[in-house]
């Protein structure tokens, strides 16, 4: 085989690209994995949780080698009010008895490790290479271009992230639309590991994952918090279209959230060490482009807009890994590049990625209800304040007070409509 021809070129060293390249290389394919960052992970930002099953699908036991942060045993939901907060804290040590269900992760280390695993399987890994185009021949994709240079392959796998410039260049889909993505901003805050464990009531190695509503000034979106080893990932995802209309800079809203007393208590004394931002696919099943392949090319991971956000569960990396694996299996099973595309779609079904996404297909409708992000969290906080308040005065009768609070936030009509809509979306 010549120096510039591979069986498969994978563009992008994130979880999707690495899972794909790893599987292919392990089966003896000649694979080239290209990453634009100086090391894999150095351009990547994510909230920070990986559902372990995906790595187990790639190779049983693999997660034990990975630089995972903390095993998530606490799932927390927070509703923020002005100066108050209600937190639902669900502890479950049984999530994934043999293989822990999920871990917090830091991408700079996770992706770098994964790319090294890919290399150890015999793939060629090139970091610091920006792929800026595709090579097309006879209507097929036959390679990639970086600057003046070209490399060729039977199949190119585009794992180039949510912006997927390659998918657009291949004519598979148009650019993502602003209603279909969220803009996530995130600060990484360092704190001693013991302090984190203490504040979240965790044992060493255990972690908490939290989602928060009521911190986006009514913009569709929510916040997240993940405990890592020696750091906390804290961020908010906003719907960019609504944020623009709202008019207040998203960093300012984020900084207000960060210094909300209920959040500040968790991060106080810490040191901010990094600030990142990233787009997140938000449309779930309906956001997946019609075409994820053409002859000689498959699209995986964020590039294919694979993501699930139920409000409680946020999934992206696991779907990325599964889709990378699906692409690899499809390529391994196909006898010609033309077969790989349809087989890939079948693998996405067989590996349960698409069935999973279909279950949550209409969840984005819930996020189209504006009251979810302000009125309902506020309502919860006001109700609790009412129930817990003791100031020596004669309190309002309970039913009357609660009704007043309810009415001040939402009308019965709205409540009924939202309830019906939410029910329909589930």
């Amino acid at each position: 085989m010549s120096d510039d021809k591979f069986d498969v070129i994978v563009v992008g060293g994130g979880p999707a690209g690495c899972a794909c390249a790893y599987t292919l290389a392990k089966q003896g394919k000649s694979v080239l994995l290209l990453e634009r960052g100086n090391s894999a992970g150095s351009k990547n930002v994510s909230g920070g949780r990986l559902y372990t099953y995906a790595l187990e699908l790639v190779e049983p036991g693999m997660y034990q080698r990975a630089p995972l942060q903390r095993k998530i045993v606490r799932e927390q939901i927070m509703m923020l009010g002005e100066g108050s907060a209600m937190t639902l804290d669900y502890v479950d040590y049984g999530f994934g008895e043999e293989v822990p269900q999920s871990y917090s992760v830091v991408r700079a280390s996770l992706d770098e490790w994964f790319a090294a695993e890919v290399e150890a399987q015999g793939a060629m890994v090139g970091a610091g290479i920006l792929v800026d185009g595709l090579v097309e021949k006879g209507g097929k994709i036959v390679g990639i271009r970086a600057g003046e240079e070209e490399m060729y392959a039977d199949v190119v796998v585009a794992a180039d992230g949510v912006n997927s410039l390659l998918g657009q260049k291949a004519g598979l889909f148009p650019d993502v639309k602003q209603h279909a993505v969220g803009i996530g901003v995130k600060e990484t805050i360092e704190l001693p590991d013991e302090v984190i464990s203490q504040r979240f009531a965790l044992k060493a190695g255990e972690g908490a994952a939290r989602v928060a509503l009521g911190c986006t000034e009514g913009i569709s979106g929510g916040a997240f918090l993940y405990t890592n080893q020696g750091s906390i990932s804290l961020g908010i995802v906003f719907n960019p279209e609504q944020a623009a209309k709202h008019g207040r800079q998203i960093q300012d809203i984020f900084q207000d959230f960060k210094t909300h007393p209920a959040i500040l208590a968790l991060i106080e004394g810490g040191t901010s060490v990094e600030y990142g931002a990233h787009l997140v696919p938000e449309m779930g099943f309906h956001g997946i482009p019609q075409r994820l392949h053409r002859e000689g090319m498959l699209v995986v991971g964020d590039a294919a807009q694979f993501g699930i956000n139920t409000g409680l569960i946020i999934r992206g990396m696991d779907l990325a890994i599964v889709s990378g694996l699906a692409a690899a299996r499809a390529i391994l099973a196909s006898s010609s590049p033309a077969e790989a595309g349809p087989l890939y779609m079948r693998q996405l079904e067989e590996l349960l990625l698409l069935p999973n996404m279909k279950v949550y297909a209409n969840f984005h409708n819930i996020f189209a209800m504006p009251r979810v992000f302000q009125q309902y969290p506020q309502l919860a906080n006001q109700a609790l304040q009412f129930l817990f308040r003791v100031d020596g005065k004669v309190p309002e009768p309970m039913a009357k007070g609660l009704l007043r609070i309810l009415k001040s936030n939402v009308s019965f009509g709205q409540l009924a409509a939202d309830g019906w809509k939410a029910y329909r979306s589930l």
């Binding site: 634009r36 960052g37 100086n38 992970g41 150095s42 351009k43 990547n44 930002v45 994510s46 830091v106 991408r107 700079a108 610091g128 290479i129 920006l130 800026d132 970086a146 912006n163 410039l165 650019d175 993502v176 639309k177 602003q178 993505v181 803009i183 901003v185 995130k186 600060e187 990484t188 805050i189 360092e190 750091s231 990932s233 906003f238 960019p240 279209e241 944020a243 623009a244 709202h246 008019g247 800079q249 998203i250 960093q251 900084q255 207000d256 960060k258 210094t259 991060i267 106080e268 004394g269 810490g270 040191t271 901010s272 060490v273 990094e274 600030y275 990142g276 931002a277 990233h278 787009l279």
Partner: protein, 96 residues
């Protein structure tokens, strides 16, 4: 250090950037921006690379986080070209 509200400048100062001097990876056409009244870029760019001065949209690519938001929200064609920085340039995340 204790936690406090950080300005966009402070936030970006936490990061590692290698600026490709004289080689912007995003091109903005100010004449298009002049016709845009919504100017979502001013609000949603998480790095505040877009700022308004004397009624004009100014774009500075040096602190770009490479997220793509500006391209996605720009409906007036002000962002005429959006690419990632050349290899070895741009932001490097170390602990995200």
């Amino acid at each position: 250090m204790s936690i406090k509200k950080l300005s966009p400048e402070d936030l970006l100062a936490l990061n590692k950037f290698a600026v490709d001097e004289g080689n912007p990876h995003i091109l903005v056409d100010k004449t298009k921006c002049a016709q845009c009244t919504a100017r979502p870029c001013l609000v949603v760019c998480p790095a505040r690379c877009y700022r308004q001065k004397d009624g004009e949209v100014n774009f500075e690519y040096a602190g770009c986080l490479e997220c793509g938001t500006c391209r996605v929200v720009c409906t007036y064609g002000g962002v005429t070209s959006w690419n990632y920085p050349r290899a070895s340039y741009g932001v490097t995340f170390r602990c995200s």
